[in-house]
């Protein structure tokens, strides 16, 4: 039976109980922060919408009726229709899938890559550090959107290439953060102790160094989500991301631009979606930082 006292016990009896207890403490701290809860709610909503898009969307996101083109928001089309008569609400609901996919793929590619490069550089120091950080700095010094543009131009437009391009431009930040974090404890005695037990460098980096950089990376990734969504939207806006007729939010704004003065809803509705989702990730990231920050936790 899982009770609150069991979870909060200072003397857990099993490994499982200890892990659950730690998780529960984190969750409890997070839920005490109202803004983080709002962020979490937005992210959960995005997840649910993406998951149940075919059931939630009232119309097809791709097939429109030209007769209904550029209808203002009404009871039948809550967010109006676009220039091909497609229901904007349905497109935004299906667009959530694309946004979520981009965000997840970038996080899965960029964060581990940055974490690995940063921890290796920080742990070994010396010439390994100089080479890896030189590389990182080169990537970091190039403007993100321009870099992404260059990659997409080279690889060809399309959503997969946009994801790769964003991921390639996103990792250097995580590498920098992870390295800075490693430098604060690379000389610490707990690492000396495992080294003396004969642990390999690979084992030390993955099991002892990385977990300590994990929370700052998670926080940073969450905070970066907004930027990633905006970059993806930017690429879509420039016609280099998702290709029509995919309902990508950035591309939708781009198409709506031509009618912005007379049919404001075509560009505004997807823009609104981008703002809300970005805000959600930002709020949640802020809350996570408060909870995961090692300095904050040391006091608890």
């Amino acid at each position: 039976m899982i009770t609150r006292d069991w979870l909060l016990s200072d003397d857990p009896e099993t490994r499982m109980q200890a892990r659950l207890g730690q998780g529960y403490r984190l969750a409890r701290a997070l839920l005490r922060n109202p803004l983080a809860v709002v962020g979490l709610a937005i992210i959960l909503l995005l997840l649910l919408v993406a998951m149940f898009a075919p059931w939630l969307a009232p119309y097809s996101p791709i097939q429109g009726e030209l007769a209904n083109r550029l209808q203002p928001p009404s009871a039948t089309h809550w967010m109006g229709t676009d220039e091909l008569g497609r229901d904007i609400l349905s497109r935004i609901i299906f667009g959530a899938r694309i946004t979520l996919m981009i965000v997840l793929l970038v996080a899965i590619i960029a964060a581990p890559l940055g974490l690995l490069i940063g921890t290796v550089a920080g742990y070994f120091g010396g010439w390994v550090d100089r080479i890896l950080m030189g590389l990182t700095d080169i990537f970091l010094s190039l403007p993100r959107l321009i870099m992404a543009l260059a990659f997409v131009a080279a690889l060809g437009p399309g959503i997969e290439n946009a994801v790769i391009a964003i991921a390639i431009t996103a990792w250097p930040v995580y590498a920098r953060i992870a390295r800075a974090e490693v430098l604060t404890f690379r000389k610490s005695e707990f690492l000396d102790a495992v080294r003396m037990q004969g642990a390999s460098s690979a084992r030390i980096i993955t099991l002892h160094v990385m977990p300590l950089c994990m929370s700052s990376t998670i926080v940073r990734v969450t905070l970066d989500m907004a930027g990633i969504i905006l970059t993806a939207a930017g690429l879509g806006f420039l016609g280099l991301g998702a290709q029509p007729p995919l309902p990508e939010w950035g591309a939708m704004i781009s198409r709506g631009r031509s009618f912005i003065l007379d049919q404001w809803w075509v560009a505004t509705m997807p823009g609104f979606a981008i703002v809300v989702v970005s805000l959600g990730f930002c709020l949640f990231g802020d809350g996570l930082r408060d909870v995961l920050d090692p300095k904050q936790r040391a006091r608890g």
């Binding site: 200072d10 003397d11 857990p12 009896e13 099993t14 490994r15 109980q17 200890a18 730690q22 610490s188 005695e189 707990f190 000396d192 102790a193 495992v194 080294r195 003396m196 037990q197 004969g198 642990a199 084992r203 002892h208 977990p211 300590l212 090692p294 040391a298």
Partner: protein
């Protein structure tokens, strides 16, 4: 057990150890005494394999220090560090920390060995799944000692193991170290600046100053305050006068 011959160590252009030689017999407890910058911790680091370059010869249990694999060295020597707050991984439970050496060396029957070791160092079994920040300084130092003993090494390097602890806790840890040494026949190499601790825990001591050994003597000399070197006598006087 431990034999150090003409050990020299330099960091950059500064030489921190000059031709240091000492021998520690099996089962002996030997202290390296000196002020900061005397090079006492550097000797410990060289023996523990934390230094990459040094001159001279270091033998531990009849084999040169650098010769065997890291794993082989780990089974011979382990270390207890000064700072009980910095020597435990902040995100790993006591159980993780104690299991780690066993996993690295592919040992079996880990659960039992962890529990036995908790008993041996006088830690309640209910602390097993706690994180370091849920323990006091003395309890952490017990964990650090337990970790060092998990692989049953014959030699333990002790780097000021009680200087960060409260007086009453220091007594508990010193007693524990003494009992463990008697039970397991351990050889201690202790680095400290605290002469009374040496008097309690050690058989012989070497006094270091600026990277050289001033004097090597047994603990009876310390208790009587009859060092032959002027510096040894000076340290003794300061310790007595505060």
């Amino acid at each position: 057990m431990i034999s150090v011959r003409n050990l020299t160590v330099s960091f950059g252009t500064t030489q921190v150890l000059h031709d240091v030689s000492l021998d520690v017999a099996k089962g002996e407890s030997f202290a390296l005494v000196g002020e900061s910058g005397s090079g006492k911790s550097t000797i410990l680091k060289a023996l523990g394999g934390q230094l990459t370059s040094w001159g001279g010869e270091l033998d531990i249990i009849d084999a040169p220090q650098g010769a065997g694999s890291k794993l082989a060295l780990a089974r011979k020597v382990q270390m207890v560090f000064q700072d009980p707050y910095g020597s435990l991984h902040p995100r790993r439970t006591i159980d993780d920390t104690l299991n780690e050496p066993l996993i690295i060396h592919g040992e079996q029957g880990r659960d039992k060995r962890v529990l036995d070791m908790l008993d041996a160092v006088g830690l309640s079994r209910r602390f097993r799944f706690r994180l370091p920040h849920q323990l006091s300084g003395g309890q952490r130092q017990r964990v650090a000692i337990a970790r060092a003993l998990m692989l049953d090494p014959p030699v333990l390097l002790l780097d000021e193991p009680t200087s960060a602890l409260d007086v009453s806790v220091q007594a508990e840890i010193l007693n524990l170290l003494k009992s463990l040494r008697e039970e397991k026949g351990l050889t201690f190499l202790l680095v400290t600046h605290d002469l009374p601790v040496v008097s309690f825990l050690c058989d012989r001591l070497a006094i270091l100053r600026a990277g050289r050994i001033e004097e090597t003597t047994d603990v009876a000399t310390l208790r009587a305050g009859q060092f032959s070197s002027a510096y040894g006598q000076e340290l003794y006087q300061r310790s007595v006068d505060g």
